[in-house]
Amino acid sequence: MSDWLFFIEVSLAGLGSGALLSLTALAFVLIYKATQVVNLAVGEILMLGGYLFFAFAAGMGLSPWVAIPLAVIGGGIVGGIVERGIIRPMLGEAAISVFMVTVGLGSVLVGLVELIWGTDPRSLPNFIATAPLFLGEAYVSRKIAVAFVVAGIVVTVFLVLFRFWRGGVALRATATDQAAAYSCGINVPGVFSLAWIIGCATAAGAGVLLGAISGISPTMGIFGLSALVVVIVGGLDSILGALVGGLALGLIQSWTGTYLGGEYTSVVTFSLLIVALMIRPYGLFGTHEIERL
């Protein structure tokens, strides 16, 4: 096999996991845009999505095509409850306190999952054919290709909705000026809820796709940290940043994992984060410095 072909295959795999990063980053962006909360529990909601699918498909024996929407809806419900029950009462508190609460929420979710399903990794029932796919001569895992296509479609749909749907206008208006949004008759608390519901549903969906590729475990929420790197670099409130940043980080992780060794991926990922934060020192909470890519 030529080096060139191998490089292409590695890159294609990178784009596949990159698309999942974009999808997860989208969950961060939606929630941050509406409520200015960096929800660190996105990774754990993603994990929960994987386990919900596992419970519905393997546990209850439902068809995967029923289990997938149920897992996505389940993620949305959790998001809605968290927003109403925990985040909304904290309105007006310092950003850092709300952030810490989401960190705690993540640990609670991990604990719950471990209580119910144990700590062992599990694999999900197959719902994507295993026969490999060839793009020209290059081999791609079919699962990764499916994940890429689905994530790509979802992110694109969100981009379009944001621009052209009236609800997208409401979300962007709320993100720009809450009082002015109220003054236009926009149901601002409703926008908060919707953003959390859709954001967490998206994360849960990403969890199903990720679980299909590499199995599920209570620690898979780590994936959310990579997505967080994407949004910090790409812009916490930029969907386009999530899309581009996710694909870029997917490629970088795939290349370093292959050519330098798996142990280097997180070193490189977080070095990238540090460099990004050094260039944009107000990083995490200084929204205006990182608004757009």
């Binding site: 009236r166 208006a173 993100a175 720009t176 809450q178 009082a179 109220y182 003054s183 236009c184 008759g185």
Partner: protein
């Protein structure tokens, strides 16, 4: 009484952060279909009064601790701001507050949420563009790139989209050139005459406010000091001197007159 009074503010007191009292028993009325102006110097509490009426106050940790506000006969206590907008009370906030990242058209789209659940037909954007042709030319540009005057037009345009029965206008003249102020106030007056919408207009520029208002209130330190029909206020010696910057004849501001004004203020309060 509710039939001809669209807004009735009775003796309200307003406190920020549970500690700073800004309004001390303020009352005013807006008759249906009329333009009423509320004048006062910096920090008198004009914007706070409007925020109390639109309930946007709740976003700033402010609270109406006494008195009553009725819009269209209904007590507004406890209502959410967006719900009040959907009942037809639109607040054009101080400083324009357009959504800078959104285009002109998207700003108008945002205001269509004011029509939710009201079963009325969506307002055509053309109505806004008829009043403000300049907005039509800039309809695809980001609102942040508009001039101050155009942003004020957009802020009023959003109110038009909402088909309100009462518009609260907070200092639409802020930061605009005299020529532009005149243009915008002419249009505000026309909107009132043509659509019949009632307005409560807060201003520091008393001259332009009186030009379109039927009735005026003058407030100091959180309560009304003087009120009356525009013509009468305009003819009032103190108002001419302190709000219109005119002094009659060769007399300049004398200590005696200032004393007289102070005495009168005390008498009125």
């Amino acid at each position: 009484m509710t039939g001809d009074t669209i807004l009735d503010v009775e003796n309200i007191e307003l406190v920020y952060n549970k500690s700073v009292q800004v309004l001390r028993g303020l009352s005013l009325k807006v008759p249906r279909g009329q333009v009423v102006t509320l004048l006062g110097s910096n920090g008198a509490g004009k914007s706070s009064t409007l925020k109390a009426v639109s309930r946007l106050l709740s976003l700033e940790n402010g609270e109406v601790t006494a008195g009553r506000i009725r819009f269209d006969g209904q007590d507004t206590r406890g209502m959410e701001p967006h719900a009040l907008v959907r009942k037809g009370l639109f607040h054009v906030m101080e400083g324009r507050r357009v959504f800078e990242d959104l285009t002109v058209e998207e700003n108008l789209t945002a205001a269509t949420f004011a029509l939710s659940g009201r079963g009325v037909k969506r307002t055509s954007f053309d109505m806004v563009y008829d009043y403000f042709p300049r907005l039509y030319e800039r309809r695809q540009s980001r609102a942040g790139y508009l001039s101050g005057g155009e942003q004020q037009m957009l802020a009023i345009g959003r109110a038009l989209i909402a088909q309100p029965s009462l518009i609260l206008l907070d200092e639409p003249s802020l930061g605009l050139s005299p020529l532009l102020v005149e243009e915008i106030f002419t249009i505000i007056g026309r909107i009132n005459r043509q659509t019949g919408v009632s307005m409560l207009l807060v201003e520091q520029n008393a001259a332009v406010a009186f030009a379109i208002a039927h009735y005026g209130y003058i407030m100091e330190n959180g309560k009304i000091q003087l009120d009356g029909p525009s013509e009468r206020l305009m003819a009032d010696q103190d108002v001419r001197e302190f709000y219109l910057g005119q002094s009659d004849g060769e007399k300049s501001r004398s200590y005696r007159e200032i004393k007289h004004y102070k005495r009168r203020k005390r008498w009125l309060s």
